[in-house]
């Protein structure tokens, strides 16, 4: 097996930004994968990782804005970013559809992230060559 064989990846992020290093490690990994000619099929946010899809994160201006950096990366490379619906709803991450459905005062999901079920994760595992998880640390 050669390093140059193109691979495809599903990445799963379970650690939140500004709480864990997972979003940074995953972004550095994803950029390196694409640079090597591999494909990133999908990024799936699970558990506390759904916070990465927040449209409202406002860190100090001298710190990386991880939700924005990830959004830009996903858009540039046409990669779907999906937040698990069960994790997202519990943690107050909602799109306009869920806002209406639950009669909430606002929505806060940052494009191009979408909300979907764990089926997206199951499908990613089946169709990608490798699924790599980025968890919170300690």
């Amino acid at each position: 097996m050669q390093d140059s064989t193109p691979f495809s990846f599903t990445l799963v992020i379970t650690g939140a930004p500004y709480s864990s290093q997972a979003p940074q490690s995953a972004l550095s990994f994803a950029a390196a994968a694409i640079k090597a000619g591999h494909r990133v099929d999908r990024v799936f946010l699970y558990g506390d990782g759904v916070q990465l899809a927040s449209a409202l994160a406002s860190p100090p201006s001298d710190e990386p804005q991880w939700p924005r950096e990830w959004s830009t990366f996903l858009e540039e490379h046409g990669i779907p970013g999906v937040a698990c619906i069960a994790s997202a709803l519990r943690r107050g991450l909602v799109d306009e559809g869920e806002q209406k459905r639950y009669e909430l005062p606002a929505s806060n999901l940052r494009a191009p992230f979408t909300i979907a079920g764990l089926g997206e994760w199951v499908e990613g595992r089946m169709s990608s060559s490798r699924t790599v998880y980025f968890h919170g640390s300690d």
């Binding site: 379970t14 558990g47 595992r125």
Partner: protein, 116 residues
Amino acid sequence: MSTLIVIDQPPYGSWAGREALDMAFSLAAFDQPVSLLFCGAGVNWLRKGQEPGTIRQKSVEKNLAAAPIFGVEALLADGDDCKRYGLEAEQLLDGVTLVQADSQLFTNYSHTAFAG
């Protein structure tokens, strides 16, 4: 080959275990073979007689009892960890298989994942 979902955190104190369970149930729902391994403090998921009503949570016992029905192939628990937490056979939920969570066990699965 099958997927192994590992739960090594105790129930109720965090949500990671519940989210691991959801992963296992989802795989099973899509007809993907999956087993659950409880190790470390995670073996406390398997203790009989959990009554979490006062702390406002639902018992995970019922979820685990439903695992075979949903198609989860096996509930595995590390025997040494059960012993360490004083879990004798009669205190364990039904349907749990005691194993040794070693190198050998993991080679039986093509994928292994934690929920967080």
